[in-house]
Amino acid sequence: MNLRKLTGAAVAAVLTLPTVATSAQAYELVIPALEYRTGPYAPNGIPLANAMTDYFTLLNERDGGVEGVKIKLATCETGYNTAKGVECYENIKNTPPSRALMVQPFSTGITYQLIPKSSVDEIPIFSMGYGRTSAANGKVFPWVFNFPATYWSQATALVQYIADQEGGMGNLKGKKIHLVYHNSAYGKEPIRTLESLAAKYGFEYKGLPVDHPGQEQKATWLQIRKERPDWVLMWGWGVMNQVAVKEAASIRFPMNRFIGVWWSGSENDVLPAGDAADGYLSGTFHAAGGDFPLHDAIRKHVYDAGKGSGDRDRIGEVLYNRGLVAAMWQVEAIRNAMKIHGTKEVTPAMVRDGFESLEVSEARLAELGLKGFTYGIKITCENHEGPGRVAVQQWDAKAKKWNMVSKFYEPLRDITGPLIEEDSMAYAKENNVTPRTCS
């Protein structure tokens, strides 16, 4: 009897699948949240997803939405898996009333899948600091935005940091810089840039791939112990980060010569190694810590009201802040879209325009309760990457805090520019895309 009822419910649910309607009559802003709370990348996916949910809950509770229009969060579990990501996207993209206003896949693999679909479905993709780097060329990729900085800019920034520690770009000659990377599209992103930088500045570059999910790195780190590079960069994600930090500690590699990409610099990556991770460096484009007025607002309006989506004491972790800044820029783009088009009932195409002329200045950050959190950004038609600035932060294992230890480096556009141009033109040729002109 129970089985029959369940089957009946299942059949009914399946039949109403693509047409799940909302009961609200008022307009709502549908924001998809492709999250991964299962799978080997869940430790990093959970704080990202929690932060986004908390920010939207805060806006709905405290402000009544964005300019009075409530946000409807459409979550879907992808498990960092491409096929599930596609299924989530197809399921959510036409959710009424506004259709998915943009999509943040939080996975380079899923982003690559969705980039060709974005221009056909007319839904902008916001791949913040990940995804396809050459999408910075807004003329070929009008629907993809990867600000505030891409992987290639970050690679140049990290090399500039290394140069500063070595006493100048000229002192890079003869140094050994190795890259431990996740053997996927994500991990391979910086290779071409690092090879160009190695050719230009004379350091020796070597790439050491680590296969998904990244738990077997003993051989990699034994090789590093043998070859003794001066610096090691890491492009990891999920469990790969923790394992790498632990392995580096076990071969007693100097932590202050080990720099991870901004997706490899979070509390869950360094806490498992304990004190041995002291001094580990990572790239970043925003501050760490939960002491900003926005965090207090989240604690007050969301967690105190019992609507928090994660642990209260994890507010302010690096990846939590990452999720916050992603959500914040998304909402500012929607606000911008409402302003440009003069309507509160924005469509995804309008939000794309909102992204393309987005300007979030430092003053605006202060208004939002994030004074000094990150730098101001300005997006233009040609440059979907924005400023491209990256700083380096360092982990203090005793105080259990991340401290910013460098200035914000400008990207070396003389190196990344031609590479972006070449890659985006190759995409345009392959897919019969005519680059548009930007006035």
């Binding site: 399946v14 999250e35 299962t38 997803a49 979550t75 879907c76 579990e77 056909v120 391979k188």
Partner: protein
């Protein structure tokens, strides 16, 4: 009551040897095929095509290929992911090198290339059996994925190693790329899968298929009665890899559109297809389809019931889905170790007597 062969007399050997000798079976299958071809395309939308039906068809085809090798010929193979990668990359390179080639020819050529690769990796089967052969095919899996990750020529030297399908037209209708219509993609894939399933059914019922089944059941006895193990095993690998290669090419070109070898074709893909045929039924064409339906569609159904119907949080639903799939697999294997195809067969036997039990 309905399912009787009473009054159905065959008057020629040809009629007796039909694939569906009972008229009710024939009508049922014809009805299903006609519905699939005529009634579905006007109503299909992007979600159903891209997320539900295309993966089902592609995995059914891959399952069919693996069933030929493991179910009919008894050679355990864990190299399915690698062979799907060969098919995918072959189709990618062929379209890049010969853009004017008809897409169907591209798919068939990808299948033939994969058949060649499959035969090479099938050579150890002449010396080793069972689990040891599984390990040898595991070598194929890891080697092929490593090769596609490392050798730049395969992915046209793109900086990230991902390959993306070009928009390809089939007699004027776009079937690949984001602008391809769901109905076009669906009909194209459906036609290929149905034709190949029919071909598979006929092969396994013929001389070659019987040779495979003899090798599977008792290979020394088969050799003694005159079946050449070399020919039988290599043809099994060849035909199976052909099917898996075409499935891989469809998987990349039509279903996903962009793949990277480590995520799309790794060892988990091999296990996935192996589970499809184990749950569906080894040694059965229908079993490949039933297994694919179970393994591909039930998680999506569970997710939609839990998240859409019951309003569960998607993270919780993700965990529960993993749990439920495991429970369902254990349940089905206990209830019927020979798979869903055997359950279907038992159901048909009981239908002959229905409604009179005895």
């Amino acid at each position: 009551m309905f399912y009787r062969e009473n009054g159905q007399f065959k008057s020629s050997y040809r009629a007796d040897q039909a694939i569906f000798p009972i008229a009710q079976d024939r009508w049922f299958v014809i009805a299903v095929v006609l519905t699939a071809f005529l009634a579905v395309p006007p109503f299909i939308d992007q979600y159903w095509a891209n997320a539900v039906i295309l993966p089902f068809l592609v995995y059914a085809l891959a399952g069919l290929g693996l069933n030929i090798l493991t179910g009919y010929c008894g050679q355990v193979s864990l190299g399915t992911g690698g062979f799907m990668a060969v098919g995918a990359y072959a189709s990618f390179k062929l379209v890049g090198l010969f853009p004017e080639l008809n897409f169907l020819i591209v798919l068939l050529l990808s299948g033939f290339i994969t058949a060649g690769v499959g035969m090479i990796f099938g050579l150890p089967s002449l010396r080793i059996k069972g689990f040891y052969l599984a390990v040898a095919t595991l070598a194929a899996q890891f080697f092929l994925v490593w090769m596609f990750n490392k050798v730049g020529w395969f992915y046209d030297y793109s900086p990230t190693g991902m390959i993306t399908v070009r928009p390809i037209e089939f007699f004027g209708v776009l079937v690949t790329g984001p602008e391809a219509g769901s109905a076009a993609k669906y009909l194209f894939t459906l036609s290929i899968v149905i034709v190949m399933a029919l071909a598979a059914k006929n092969i396994v019922r013929g001389r070659i298929g019987r040779a495979w089944m003899a090798i599977r059941d008792m290979d020394i006895a088969a050799e003694l009665i005159g079946i050449r193990p070399l020919m039988a095993k290599l043809t099994a690998f060849a035909v199976s890899s052909f099917y898996i290669g075409v499935a891989g090419a469809l998987y990349f070109s039509i279903y996903l559109g962009a793949v990277e070898p480590v995520e799309a074709f790794d060892i988990n893909r091999s296990f996935y297809v192996l589970f499809i045929i184990i749950i569906g039924g080894l040694g059965s064409v229908l079993g490949s389809f039933l297994g694919a339906a179970f393994i591909v569609l039930v998680p999506i159904l569970l997710k939609n019931v839990m998240v859409g119907g019951m309003g569960m949080a998607s993270g919780t639903a993700g965990h529960v889905e993993i749990l439920l799939m495991g429970v369902l697999i254990i349940f089905f294997l206990i209830v019927e170790p020979h798979g869903l195809a055997r359950l279907w067969q038992i159901a048909k036997e009981k239908l002959r007597l229905w409604p009179f039990p005895h």
